[in-house]
């Protein structure tokens, strides 16, 4: 087994916890990921069809102040995440274009489920006002009931659905 190439999980958890604590101390908020995806989507819709964006009660609130929706804490944090992940991958020699999947399934199947899974996840995250980072992890760190409930709903649901999708993974 060649597991040692990743950081010890408890040490990585300590590091992640300190990053979250820094966000709370410096910017009085938690971490996020799905929010950054939302701002990217809102900016794209604003570029492609500005009229639709201004007429919709959903999009228009992101254009009210006249600024680009990407000039936003979460959007910049997500940009930083890409650089941070790249640095980590470079240091640990993991930079490589590849499709990661079980040898039992095809590339097309893996990528189809990746797309559908991404769509489900971010749709649910918009409904719950945050994903594993913004709702579950950051919510738990500030003792938010929403954080604990969302965490249990995500993992509980994934355990139940895991039985149906086991052929994708094992």
């Amino acid at each position: 087994m060649n597991k040692s190439k990743y950081m010890n999980p408890y040490l990585a958890g300590l590091l992640l916890g300190l990053v979250l604590l820094a966000a709370m101390y410096l910017s009085r908020r938690g971490l996020g990921a799905s929010g950054g995806i939302k701002y990217a989507m809102v900016a794209m819709v604003g570029t492609v069809d500005k009229q639709h964006a201004m007429e919709s009660s959903y999009y228009s609130k992101y254009f009210e102040n006249g600024e680009n929706p990407l000039k936003n804490w979460l959007a910049l944090e997500v940009l930083g995440m890409v650089l941070g992940g790249f640095i980590s991958g470079a240091l640990s020699h993991r930079l490589k274009f590849k499709i990661e999947k079980s040898p039992k399934i095809s590339n097309v199947k893996r990528l189809t489920f990746a797309f559908v899974g991404g769509a489900f996840f971010v749709y649910g995250a918009q409904l719950a006002r945050g994903c594993t980072s913004g709702a579950a992890l950051s919510g738990m760190a500030v003792l938010s009931v929403a954080g604990f409930v969302t965490m249990m709903a995500i993992f509980g649901s994934a355990y139940i659905f895991a039985w149906f999708f086991r052929k994708l993974w094992i």
């Binding site: 087994m1 597991k3 999980p9 408890y10 958890g13 590091l15 992640l16 916890g17 604590l21 709370m24 101390y25 410096l26 910017s27 009085r28 908020r29 938690g30 971490l31 799905s34 995806i37 809102v42 819709v45 919709s56 009660s57 804490w73 940009l79 890409v82 941070g84 640095i87 980590s88 991958g89 640990s92 993991r94 274009f97 499709i99 990746a114 797309f115 899974g117 991404g118 769509a119 489900f120 996840f121 749709y123 649910g124 995250a125 409904l127 006002r129 594993t132 760190a141 500030v142 003792l143 009931v145 929403a146 409930v149 709903a153 995500i154 355990y159 659905f161 999708f165 994708l168 094992i170």
Partner: protein, 200 residues
């Protein structure tokens, strides 16, 4: 005393610079933990790799205990830190939809960004799906609006709800985490899949 952005009245660009720096740390920690690998993440739900639980709960208790300690010593005003509001139905239904997405796609949004940053094509496609999901939510918002904004409970905190102090709850969560770590270590032995884990 923190939070610095409120109490020292940062201009917006400094706060955005902090966001970028925090993001670098966040992305670095996720990738080092192995969260750029979908098969490692999926291991959580079949028992062969429980890194998700160990990293997630360690991070939660470090940030929770750390912020409680900073508050106790008067270094952080926690009343200024954002507490996620609780919308009962939206949190539960949103969480269930997210769980289904997790096991189909193999990532969550943060970990898919981590995967993208080292070149995983499945991570990039997950993110494209994520953009589509956000678009779908925006376009279906008029229909789902009342569900999304219903059963609002405010920024309810779990210690209030249980009637204990934040310190007592923090201690209980640390004990629960230690118990979960022990179960996770047992699970990795019982559901061991060397054929998969040697690949990761």
């Amino acid at each position: 005393m923190g939070p610095l952005s409120v109490l020292s009245e940062f201009p917006e660009w400094i706060n955005l610079l902090i966001a970028f720096a925090i993001g670098i740390g966040f992305g670095f920690a996720l990738e080092q933990a192995g969260f750029s690998s979908s098969r490692k993440l999926a291991g959580m739900f079949y028992g062969y790799d429980t890194t998700v639980l160990k990293v997630f709960f360690t991070a939660a208790i470090v940030a929770l205990a750390g912020s409680q300690l900073l508050s106790f010593f008067g270094l952080l005003d926690l009343s200024q830190v954002f507490v996620n509001p609780y919308y009962v139905k939206a949190s539960i239904l949103g969480g269930i939809i997210m769980g289904a997405g997790f096991i189909m796609g193999g990532y969550c949004p943060g970990t898919s960004i981590s995967a993208l940053s080292i070149g995983k094509i499945d991570g990039m496609v997950f993110l494209l799906g994520g953009l589509f999901g956000a678009f779908l939510f925006a376009e279906t918002y008029p229909v789902i609006q009342s569900l999304a904004n219903g059963s609002y409970k405010g920024a309810l905190q779990i210690n209030e709800w249980l009637g204990v102090t934040p310190g007592v709850f923090t201690l209980l969560l640390i004990l629960a985490a230690v118990l979960l770590f022990w179960v996770a270590e047992l699970a990795e032995k019982k559901f061991s899949r060397p054929d998969i884990t040697s690949d990761l």
